[in-house]
């Protein structure tokens, strides 16, 4: 710690003294010139503007910035004639001068361990020891691009790994790196992206999150642990990082929340490097209270000329194109502290253009400037050195011809650390106007228009206009144009500022020279430039929740507080079984009465649904689903991934949520895949379309975890390369469980002991305890606080897992798939395990060759609580039909069949006290069907969750119409852009990603097989 402080001190001192350690070749050249900029409009910061002020600069620092200052006699004075001076912008999310990391993977075999040699941590993605200041080198070309965009200082860092080490704050000056540092280690960087790591773990977002959380815990333990048996460079560095501001690359509205949740757990207020879609969930972002670094990479214009191709662009992408420029304004409106970054831009030259666009879309100029200067400086606690034009601060500023947020404002000079960078003439003569060209043959008229710094020319011959090429580099100019079919005349000219004429030599096509004068006739009409914020704000469509087709415009679907379903056939799943001509009363999200001839409530808040000819059932519950998940369903890189939580990767925008609502599904268990014996913790959600990830989670549900057996976990169908990871046989699978549960039991014992401190422990003499997320989840199983859902097929392995559980004195909660369950139904009944199976799938691999569609019926008849699940986004929307197959195969009654997808899965998920039947007091999770719900002809008319209508077939027609008209509206807008001459790009839609049990990111389906 001391070392760092002294380093900082060293740097500050070096600037003050101007002493250097480097030998000089030749005579030394000490310079301490004072520069004075007078008649300037000085933007001290976003709040203070000095009109007609003076800026004094010396030795890289600001001496004074004020209205009246005594000019030192030796000062080099520049009269700015009303030009603007701004403090240099600061980019906190740069990779300037830091080399890219390359991913170099050799071969296809799994890489279980880190390939980094030395006393580092176990995972390559934890690059806590990376220190940007040690590898930083200037790059003049890049620096110029930054400076032309207004940036004088960048916080640059490596963008590789989940923990990315420290970034360094540097000036974009042209001197030795030694003279560029403001702060060597300035901030710590994190992300969800493993970067160049070739190690398998983590392969999914859930794994990345688990790895980061475990690293925090490991580092805490490492810090506290008295008797170190392990020296660990990565953990040591990680602990050092904790003293700096922490910047987290989230890049997306939902990742913002994921990062915030981690931050909360470890008491870290991350500064989020966001994406460009934050406006879509800005309320959620506001609630985190976190500061943000915001890019301005607005989507490019899509080419929509081809109608069929244009149809492939989703409504969400079209709306995002329209709304993304309003993203910065949304931050301001919601009082979220933010700064800008030029990161993510394809071309940094568009940075200022896009800032202006953001202003046009509602951001105030004041906030724009604040987000470019004061805010970034404050975020990294350097507000006394950079980000404003105040006495004693670094002389980082640029001069622009006009208000920098006006359309044609240009940065003329950019001074960084007192060092001048000249990009164009300070006093550029305005040559725009009308001229007469005199040659030795005939006369032509010339008109110069366009930007004062990049004028364009047009030449008129008699009455016909010809294009001319004109280049002006005061005082020299060249001009050429075609004067006779293929013949070109060229001029070499110089400009006379007084007469406003160009004088020089002309060259005819044949080579004959002549003296030429181009006489000024009249000035161009002055073009009125308007400030961007004075322009009309474009009208844009409304937000949707979720931001997808079929989303709604308000958070929760419009709902009456009371719903009364009148005279329907109600499948209660209770003792009354099916009641004809029955009423159901729903109040405040709960079922409050069920029966015949209820009195209909009255009032404006009552919605009455005529149930005549309709059927009402409890909402469908899918015990085994992989919808609504993002960035990987399997963390199958290790035999156990008990530490990962599917709840971290919920995607509330998956269209399959809506599609399944239309199939009557109200609750789903989102499971980890089946790539390893011990998978991850599942998330039980209600399909509350429109809510955020947290809002979808089933309140107070028990924790579950996915286990898996058989071909997938022993990697039988993954190709020959995958024969490295233990286990590769069913024998090994058993021993994986025995090993992990033995360790978890030990862990549990230690934890328990620590929670009751004895005399010795209270005295603080015990070694620190390392919180292990993986063993903790497994200990919860042993302690009956977490419950297993196990992917299983063959009788032998089913039997085995029940024995393993018995030997650790717990029970397996559910066998899922369980296609040979019928062979061991008696044993399952004895163990008390639930079964969740497919209706009729088989033959897709060897272990399902003895699957039978009668499985659900046999298990049910044997007294095993049984459900039918989907494991498939398509089948998930017609689970009622899958349940009905048990009538055909095994002759279950209709009531029994419907329970397979309603009450029975509720029981196995321990939520049958809340959902699963139509009973007074339960949640109003209800489906209204057009027909007997077990019939192939039945359609869902309404799906109600918590008493709110989330799917309504009539409203759906309107939603479809909205999708059509809204797309047409935006497409028309895009067509207009193209006609105006805007550049367009082809849209590339992502291929739909549907997850099954055995979907591995990066591994093709052909290699993995499925399910």
């Amino acid at each position: 710690m001391k070392k760092i402080v002294s380093l900082i001190a060293l740097f500050s001192v070096s600037f003050l003294q101007g002493q250097v350690t480097f030998p000089v070749n030749g005579a030394t050249n000490p310079l301490h010139t004072t520069y004075a900029f007078i008649n300037a409009i000085i933007h001290v910061n976003e709040d203070v503007i000095i009109n007609n002020g003076i800026l004094l600069v010396k030795d890289g620092k600001i001496i004074e910035a004020a209205e009246k200052v005594a000019l030192p006699k030796d000062a080099v004075v520049t009269n700015l004639n009303g030009k603007h001076i701004y403090a240099s912008f600061i980019d906190l999310y740069s990779n300037y001068g830091i080399p890219d990391s390359k991913k170099e993977r050799i071969g296809f075999a799994p890489q279980m361990e880190s390939k980094i040699k030395g006393a580092y941590g176990w995972n390559e993605a934890i690059k806590a020891d990376m220190e940007a200041y040690k590898i930083f080198v200037h790059n003049k070309e890049q620096a110029d691009i930054y400076k032309k965009a207004g940036f004088g200082v960048v916080l640059t860092s490596s963008k590789d790994g989940i923990v990315r080490g420290s970034g360094t704050l540097v000036h974009l000056n042209n001197t030795k790196e030694n003279e560029s540092f403001i702060k060597d280690k300035c901030a710590a960087f994190y992300s969800f992206n493993k970067g160049s790591s070739t190690q398998d773990y983590p392969s999914a977002l859930v794994g990345a999150i688990a790895l980061l959380r475990q690293t925090y815990y490991d580092a805490q333990w490492y810090k506290q642990s008295g008797d170190k048996t392990e020296y660990n460079i990565s953990l040591d560095a990680f602990n050092q990082l904790q003293t700096f501001p922490s910047i987290f690359e989230s890049n997306d509205k939902f990742n913002n929340q994921r990062a915030a949740i981690i931050g909360k757990e470890f008491n870290v207020n991350y500064i989020l490097k966001t994406g460009n879609n934050d406006y879509q969930r800005i309320e959620d972002l506001k609630k985190t209270g976190l500061k943000c670094i915001v890019p301005v990479n607005f989507p490019e214009n899509y080419d929509v000329e081809d109608p069929f191709d244009a149809e492939n662009i989703s409504l969400a992408d079209l709306k995002h194109w329209e709304m993304a420029p309003s993203n910065p304004a949304a931050f301001e409106k919601n009082n979220i502290l933010f700064c800008f970054t030029s990161a993510d831009l394809k071309d940094k030259k568009t940075f200022l253009l896009n800032i202006r666009k953001a202003i046009q879309y509602g951001l105030s100029e004041k906030m724009a400037l604040k987000a470019l200067t004061t805010n970034p400086a404050t975020f990294i606690q350097q507000q006394n050195l950079i980000g404003a034009l105040k006495k004693g601060m670094y002389a980082n500023f640029f001069i622009s011809n006009k208000n920098i947020f006006e359309d044609d404002a240009t940065i003329i000079e950019h001074w960084v650390n007192g060092e001048q960078n000249k990009f164009s003439e300070l006093e550029m003569p305005d040559v725009r106007g009308n001229y007469e060209i005199t040659t030795d043959k005939q006369k032509y008229s010339l008109t110069i228009t366009g930007d004062i710094y990049k004028p364009k020319a047009a030449v008129k011959m008699d009455t016909s206009k010809v294009n001319a090429s004109f280049n002006f580099n005061n005082p020299l100019a060249t001009l050429s144009f075609v004067y006779d079919s293929l013949k070109t005349v060229r001029f070499s000219l110089s400009y006379d500022n007084k007469t406003k004429n160009f004088i020089g030599t002309g060259f005819w096509n044949e080579g004959n020279k002549f003296n030429s004068t181009i006489n000024f006739i009249s000035a161009a009409e002055p073009v009125k430039s308007t400030s961007v914020s004075a322009k009309k704000t474009p009208t844009i469509g409304n937000l949707l929740y979720p931001f997808s087709s079929y989303g709604v415009e308000t958070f929760a679907p419009t709902a009456k507080e009371v719903i009364f379903i009148k005279g329907a056939t109600v499948w209660t799943n209770e003792n009354d079984s099916i009641i004809e001509n029955c009423d159901v009363l729903i109040t405040n999200g709960k079922i409050t009465n069920v029966g015949k001839g209820l009195t209909a409530p009255t009032g404006t808040n009552v919605k009455v649904i005529d149930g005549k000819g309709k059927h009402v059932s409890a909402g469908i519950i899918d015990e085994h689903s992989h919808i609504a998940l993002t960035q990987g369903v399997n963390e199958g890189t290790q035999a156990s991934s008990a530490e990962v939580r599917m709840g971290d990767a919920i995607n509330p925008e998956d269209i399959n949520i809506y599609r399944q609502l239309a199939g009557g599904v109200t609750t789903s268990q989102l499971l980890h895949g089946s790539a390893n014996p011990i998978g991850g913790q599942s998330a039980i959600i209600k399909l509350r379309w429109g809510q955020n990830a947290e809002g979808m989670k089933f309140e107070n549900a028990d924790g579950f975890i996915k286990f898996a057996l058989g071909e997938n976990v022993k990697q039988s169908n993954w190709g020959d390369f995958n024969s490295v990871r233990f286990p590769q046989s069913r024998m090994g699978v058993e021993q994986v469980y025995m090993d992990y549960f033995t360790r978890a039991a030990e862990y549990s014992k230690t934890m328990e002991a620590l929670s009751k401190p004895t005399g010795k422990q209270a005295a603080g003499k015990t070694p620190a305890f390392r919180k292990d997320l993986e063993l903790e989840a497994l200990a919860e199983i042993i302690n009956k606080k977490r419950f297993i859902t196990c992917h299983s097929y063959v009788q032998s392995e089913i039997n085995m897992l029940m024995h393993v559980a018995d030997s650790f004195n717990f029970k397996v909660n559910t066998f899922t798939h369980i296609l040979e369950g019928y062979k061991v139904a008696d044993k399952m009944k004895a163990h008390g395990v639930h079964a969740s199976t497919f209706a009729d799938w088989w033959a897709y691999k060897n272990e399902v060759m003895e699957a039978i569609p009668y499985n659900a019926a046999i298990l049910t008849k044997m007294g095993v609580n049984t459900s039918i699940n989907s494991d498939d986004a398509e089948m998930g929307r017609r689970l009622n039909q899958e349940a009905a197959k048990s009538i055909k195969y095994g002759e279950l009654t209709e009531v029994q069949a419907l329970k397979l997808v309603t009450l029975n899965p509720a029981k196995m998920l321990h939520i049958d006290d809340k959902v699963g039947s139509i009973k007074t007091g339960k949640s109003a999770d209800i489906v209204i069907w057009s027909d007997n719900p077990l019939s192939i002809y039945a359609k869902v008319e309404n799906t109600i969750i918590d008493g709110k209508i989330y799917f309504d077939r009539e409203l759906h027609q309107k939603a479809s119409e909205y999708v059509k008209t809204e797309k047409a509206r935006i497409i028309a807008k895009l067509l207009a852009e193209k006609q105006k001459g805007a550049a367009v790009v082809k849209h590339r839609s992502k291929k739909r990603q549907l997850y099954h049990c055995n979907t591995i990111e990066g591994v093709s389906e052909e290699e993995t097989g499925k399910r």
Partner: protein, 440 residues
Amino acid sequence: MKTNYFIYNLKLATLLVTFLSFNCYKLNAQTVKNYTAFINCIAHIGNGEVVDPAIISVKGNKIESVQNAKGIRLNHTAFDTVIDLEGKHVYPALINANNVLGLHDAFSVRATRDLNDVGNINPHIRSLIAYNSDNKITPTIKTNGILYTQVTPRGGMVSGNSSIMALEGWNWEDAVLLEDDGIHINFPALSERLQNEEGGEDKAKKRYEEELTSLNNFFIDALAYYNNANVSEKNIRLESMKGVFAGTKNLYIHTDKAKDILTSLYFIKKHEIKKPVLVGAKECYKVLKEIKNANVPVMLVRVHDLPERTDDDIDAVYNLPSILQKENILYCLQTAGDSEMEAMNSRNLPFLAGSAVAYGLTQEQAISAITMNVAKIIGVDKLIGSLEDNKLASFVVSTGDILDMKSSNIVLAYIGGKPVNLNNQQTELYLKYKNKYGIK
């Protein structure tokens, strides 16, 4: 229906024939002998008509007639056997088009798979000979009333020949109904390439153009070969293509996207393909008029599939059959779409038709879509596809509506007059474990 010599039409609408006095066989009938009558049933003809109550007479391996029993007295002595179906439904044998059934067992085990081969243009490949009449999946398909399949090769751009097989047979020779009925091509897919090709739009377009050019060139060569009476050197690839130009083989063009469909229609015209069929055609609803004008039948994508895009209507795929029906385009349903699952899933063919009813078809239209229409498209409608005179006596008897899983219960099935064994490994295992546990 023609009046046959053994039936006396008494022209008395109220007089119904009763068979109680006859010695009728019940449902466990073993064999159709020379001449059998199935009485007291609801006959779904397959062409959109229903005959209720019906008498179906079967002579040898063929249907002799299907008669409305109302006002008819049956001369029972004319028959060897009379089977009283007690009001059950009779359907033509269901036909499973475009499927790999018979080409694999446990899908993930490479050794059991015979779906495709090396090479991009393989018109000489014949699925027929790989069809394993004893494969493990077929018995479970028959149990649900699907009695014929079009065994279809996969892979490459030109995949090879399919054949029409009965699901009963000692071997493929015995099972085949129509040998090499057509050649299947996976038509180059521009939008798929644009979405998935690495290396950007230009590369994707280039690859697509290359594919399309090579397909066109192949067809040009094949036509030249077909027109040449004195071929100097025999080419088995081109030999196999002759039927396509002669009009004896269908050309099955597998393609989904609107633009690709349009390109394929142009391809059909350009190469003067006599009997083209579109397979998949998920976006047919965008180019209906063009398909209609080209008079090309459609083997529709599995209707139990997800909409292609987020924006598509939730019912986009469910609605396709009724859209084609309304447009009067000849189409049929099929279960393919996911090679590892399609064979075992083909037993759900009737339920796809059921879904189509929920989304706009009539019952009988839906039945046609898995019987008569299939037969027409694959060119076997003279033999099977409907309960009409002189067709093979291949039909299915169910106690309830065959399109709805909740009522579908198949009790009898015949292929060419021969009874089909409806038991399979799964029903046997069911029995075995019911007995073990003593449950009903």
